[in-house]
């Protein structure tokens, strides 16, 4: 049985059109905090953070075919690393990101080793178990000195560097955006070249890939590590943004929402992370008005619909829809004056 729907990775070559899109997007994203309220800016910060996480999960699940239902655990590790470093040792917030990334890389690499022997359903099961067990481990009494137990840890929101006329939320947003842009650039470079091809080859035909000389074990564990690194940096940024970490913020449903995000955004795409993040941040906002449970019911329904009708997600649908619109306009333009 194949692991993933037959999805060729989205084209990643640098073209003029794509470069223009990225520059435009970045420009819009940079302007937004100056026109939005602080609260809206904070929401947007969260969306950018989730985009980083989803990109990480997509490297593992979309590109490498290793299903993870447990990325909430790495998000938690990243968040706690940042919070403990800031709270205990007074490390500046920006310095916690590389630390969180490194710690999560190690954890991810370590979890990737047993994951090598698990495939498909079983890997999903093992990572699901990790997600369910995480809050309990975080509450563990013997770790309480570090983790703050059930209460968690409260941290301070960083101020903008002296001299910049920015509010805390605006500064944090721009900081997050810069980190995310860097990470997206790195992932783009990683995935469009040799490494990306190797990951996809291992996903689609492990045997053929290995006989071409790709070191399967090394690539798969490293993919797990890199994926956890992204998720961990996302977790650290998340902790700084909400100024608080506690075990109950990392319930199994967090991991599930990441899976929802990459499915909605588009498996094996880079841009899909953005769409997925917007979806999981903004959908609960308006669905909450119906009922507290409504966002999750809608998540579930949308997952089902996507799985049946559009396994490629938004990132796959958009270019096709755009092409369709263009064709319509052209055919109408051609037929219009003559008729």
């Amino acid at each position: 049985m194949p692991l993933l729907p037959k999805i060729a990775p989205a084209p990643l070559e640098p073209t003029l059109g794509r470069a223009a899109m990225v520059v435009l997007l970045l420009a819009v994203l940079c302007v937004l905090p100056f026109v939005l309220s602080d609260y809206r800016t904070f929401q947007l910060t969260q969306a950018v953070i989730y985009a980083v996480v989803l990109l990480g999960l997509n490297i593992l699940t979309g590109y490498n075919g290793q299903i993870s239902l447990g990325h909430g655990a790495f998000f938690a590790i990243g968040a706690y690393t940042a919070a403990i470093l800031m709270d205990r040792w007074g490390v500046p917030y920006w310095a916690t990101l590389p630390a969180a990334g490194a710690v999560c890389f190690c954890f991810g690499f370590a979890f990737g080793l047993p994951a090598l022997r698990l495939q498909g359903h079983y890997l999903a099961l093992a990572t699901f178990a990790l997600a369910v067990a995480t809050p309990q481990i975080l509450k563990y009494r013997k770790l309480e000195d570090f983790t703050g137990g059930v209460q968690g840890i409260v941290i301070m929101k960083p101020d903008a560097p002296a001299g910049l006329p920015l509010s805390q939320d605006q500064w944090l947003y721009l900081f997050t955006l810069a980190v995310a842009a860097l990470l997206f650039l790195a992932a783009w470079n990683l995935l469009r070249g040799r490494v990306g091809r190797a990951l996809v080859a291992l996903r689609d035909h492990p045997l053929a890939a290995e006989s071409m000389g790709i070191n399967g074990s090394l690539y798969k564990t490293t993919a797990f590590g890199v994926s956890a690194l992204y998720t961990g940096v996302g977790g650290a940024l998340g902790a700084i943004a909400v100024q608080f970490v506690a075990p109950d913020s990392f319930l199994p449903f967090l991991s599930i929402s990441f899976l929802v995000g990459i499915t909605v955004g588009g498996l094996a795409t880079v841009s899909g992370a953005l769409w997925g993040a917007l979806f999981i941040v903004y959908l609960p906002n308006w669905a909450d008005e119906i009922s507290k449970s409504a966002p999750w019911a809608i998540y579930g329904a949308i997952l089902l619909v996507l799985v049946y009708l559009m396994p490629g997600g938004v990132a796959w649908m958009l270019p096709r829809a755009w092409a369709l619109v263009l064709r319509r306009i052209r055919s109408r333009g051609g037929a219009g004056p003559g008729a």
């Binding site: 194949p2 729907p5 498909g120 359903h121 079983y122 099961l125 178990a129 369910v132 449970s293």
Partner: protein, 290 residues
């Protein structure tokens, strides 16, 4: 010593519940090789159904039987409508479908029945058994119910034509279809049975952990561990695995690591079995030709 016996017995009682849910997982795994992540939430939903029927004034065992019937029908419907289209789909598609089901059942239960924790009655009464200080009537009753379910299932698969047809459909769908068995219907029936067994587990555990939409998350994890330990294609193995996991979890919780890390025991068990003995204690080792 007494405390130890008490822990042992409550481990067995919990194990009976894990065993039932593991049995439900095995039912589905046997025929389709899918691991049903929504099994726990389906059981939870069935339990809410039973609660609603009880609130309406039905006697316990009538509500019990009605819940089994409705759950079975719902299980068959889910298979037919939602699972059949992805039967041959890639693994990720199937996993996402199950996760979607999990999320939907959980949120709809929260939506309809609210998140307030509810008390669910036990049919076996409270207090202690006469001349047995180690066991509550409910613990005893739930062990008996688990074993009864196992015996009934065994008899069903061993002695009835329908059971034989189901086994044939699971073992070799192509030949089964050629000899006139409606394989699709058998798969649906397997789902129905799994849903009904899960409902039993839900109704047995609800008096202990109380009824709320998230009550099955941990229990599902133990059931996974039980099913894997016993061999995920072996019903008897699942039951043995369930009891072993229940006892190990309880003794570890009481004497070694404390109750706070019980779920980690399940995680370690799952990883351990998958890594060192993927076929479980009683399962067949699967050899894949590459």
């Amino acid at each position: 010593m007494e405390a130890f016996l008490h822990q042992l017995v409550s481990g067995l009682a919990a194990g009976g519940i894990y065993a039932s849910l593991a049995l439900a997982l095995v039912m589905i795994y046997q025929s389709t090789h899918h691991i049903n992540f929504a099994q726990g939430e389906m059981a939870m939903f069935s339990t809410y159904l039973a609660w609603t029927l009880l609130q309406a004034g039905l006697p316990y065992w009538v509500a019990f039987a009605a819940t089994l019937g409705i759950s079975c029908a719902a299980g068959m419907l889910i298979e037919r409508v939602l699972i059949r289209p992805v039967e041959k789909a890639p693994v990720l598609t199937v996993v996402i479908t199950f996760i979607a089901l999990l999320v939907i059942f959980n949120s709809v239960a929260g939506w309809v029945f609210t998140h307030t924790v509810k008390v669910f009655p036990s049919p076996f009464g409270a207090g202690l058994l006469p001349r047995n200080p180690f066991m509550s009537p409910h613990e005893f009753g739930s062990i008996v119910v688990t074993l009864a379910v196992l015996v009934l299932l065994y008899a069903f698969f061993r002695f009835t034509p329908l059971g034989l047809a189901m086994r044939a459909a699971a073992l070799n769908p192509v030949s089964a279809r050629l000899s006139g068995i409606r394989v699709g219907r058998m798969l649906a029936l397997g789902w129905g049975l799994a849903a009904a067994i899960g409902a039993v587990a839900g109704m047995m555990v609800a008096p202990v952990v109380y009824l709320d939409p998230n009550m099955m998350a941990g229990i599902l994890l133990y059931a996974f561990a039980a099913a894997l330990l016993g061999g995920i294609d072996n019903p008897l193995g699942a039951v043995v695995g369930g009891f072993v996991v229940g006892v190990v979890e309880n003794l570890m919780g009481a004497y070694v690591i404390g109750t706070e890390l019980k779920l980690t025991v399940a995680l370690v068990l799952i990883l351990g079995v998958l890594l060192f003995k993927p076929a479980g204690l009683f399962g067949r080792a699967v050899v894949t030709r590459v």
